[in-house]
């Protein structure tokens, strides 16, 4: 470990621990997942930076949306995202979650992922190379450092908007709202 990091560790242990222990929820949402095995295995070895895949959303704090998101997957993504404990970071991987990418005219994939769940960082490319993943991660580190990776706070704050968008697209969701929202409260009152 770098010596001048020790001071940082003492000052902000939470932030540093979050940075160097990014446990990614294993979810192959799209074709981007093909570059994740190389990233976590011998050639690129993401475990050097504490990035390992974990089995369930409860255990992780990094959610990589690897590639285009179809409607059916979006439902699972929302469910998975809501089950992760705070603080949690989302990274959109590839061009497709940003604006639809090459599926811009597909009737079954969503175009802007950040309208349904908050996204902290993007890694562009179709598909991004493993090196790009590391650049994305280092960028995420910077964001965590500067308190800008606050997607989970935004989600809580604008939950009614997010939930509204989700329900607009997917119809009724099978699970109750995560937070008591303004809309939900109004509905209860009415």
């Amino acid at each position: 470990m770098d010596r001048n990091k020790i001071g940082k560790w003492l000052k902000q242990p939470a932030k540093m621990a979050n940075k160097y222990s990014l446990n990614a929820v294993y979810f192959c949402t799209g074709c981007g997942i093909i570059e994740i095995p190389p990233v976590i295995t011998a050639r690129w070895d993401a475990e050097r930076f504490g990035i390992i895949p974990v089995a369930t959303p409860r255990q992780g704090n990094l959610f990589m949306i690897t590639g285009y998101v179809s409607l059916k997957t979006l439902r699972a993504i929302i469910r998975t995202y809501e089950q992760m404990p705070d603080p949690k970071y989302t990274v959109g991987f590839g061009s497709c979650p940003i604006n639809g990418g090459m599926y811009w005219d597909s009737y079954n994939t969503i175009k802007h992922l950040d309208r349904y769940i908050p996204v902290d960082g993007w890694i562009a490319g179709c598909m991004p190379r493993p090196e790009a993943v590391f650049i994305g991660v280092t960028h995420l580190w910077t964001l965590i450092e500067k308190d800008m990776a606050n997607g989970y706070l935004r989600y809580r704050e604008h939950y009614d908007q997010y939930r509204g968008n989700q329900e607009k697209l997917l119809g009724k969701l099978d699970w109750p709202p995560l937070y008591a929202t303004g809309i939900a409260q109004k509905e209860i009152a009415a």
Binding site: D105, D114, Q161
Partner: protein
């Protein structure tokens, strides 16, 4: 056998039009009544591998064209007879309005997901199919999406572009 099959088919199904496009592709066009018996017949004749069931939407003619592509497995484990390179493309047409057809799952068991898919994406109803439940899609579409009159670009504009971006209230 190639020529023999053609003659046999012509004899058994006088209404079926048989053309050979290239040396490996045979196209048999049949009316929809004789498709099932034709399939059973060619299955016995060696074409026991149903490779694909497809559907083409000829919107101008107001018809769906169902396409069954068959090819033979090897007769035994070792020997290649030469027939295996042949693809038999069996086509039939059904009306586009309220499309329905007989299922072929009792002849070819692996037709099941193909027919499910066509039911979902083209809205073709297969009578006798035991499990015509949705396969791929999450949302219900007014027009099945693979039909020619379903404009996916317009649909995207209408649906996805209408989802608002998240407004930051505080900012």
């Amino acid at each position: 056998m190639n020529e023999g099959l053609k003659e046999k088919l012509e004899k058994a199904f006088p209404h079926a039009a048989i053309t050979s496009m290239r040396d490996t592709d045979y196209v048999v066009t049949a009316d929809k009544e004789s498709v099932l018996s034709l399939l059973a017949y060619v299955k016995d004749a060696g074409f026991d591998h149903l490779t694909l069931i497809s559907c083409v939407d000829w919107i101008d003619e107001g018809e769906f064209e169902l396409v069954y592509i068959l090819s033979p497995y090897m007769k035994d484990n070792e020997q290649i007879s030469g027939n295996e390179k042949i693809n038999l493309i069996l086509k039939t047409r059904i009306a586009r309005g309220n499309p329905a057809f007989q299922t072929v799952t009792h002849i070819f068991e692996n037709a099941e997901p193909y027919e499910r898919e066509l039911h979902e994406l083209f809205g073709v109803h297969f009578e006798g199919h035991k499990r015509l439940i949705p396969l791929f899609l999450e949302r219900a579409y007014d027009i099945p999406p693979f039909r020619k009159d379903f404009d996916t670009r317009r649909y995207v504009k209408e649906v996805f572009d209408n989802i608002p971006a998240i407004q930051d209230i505080k900012a």
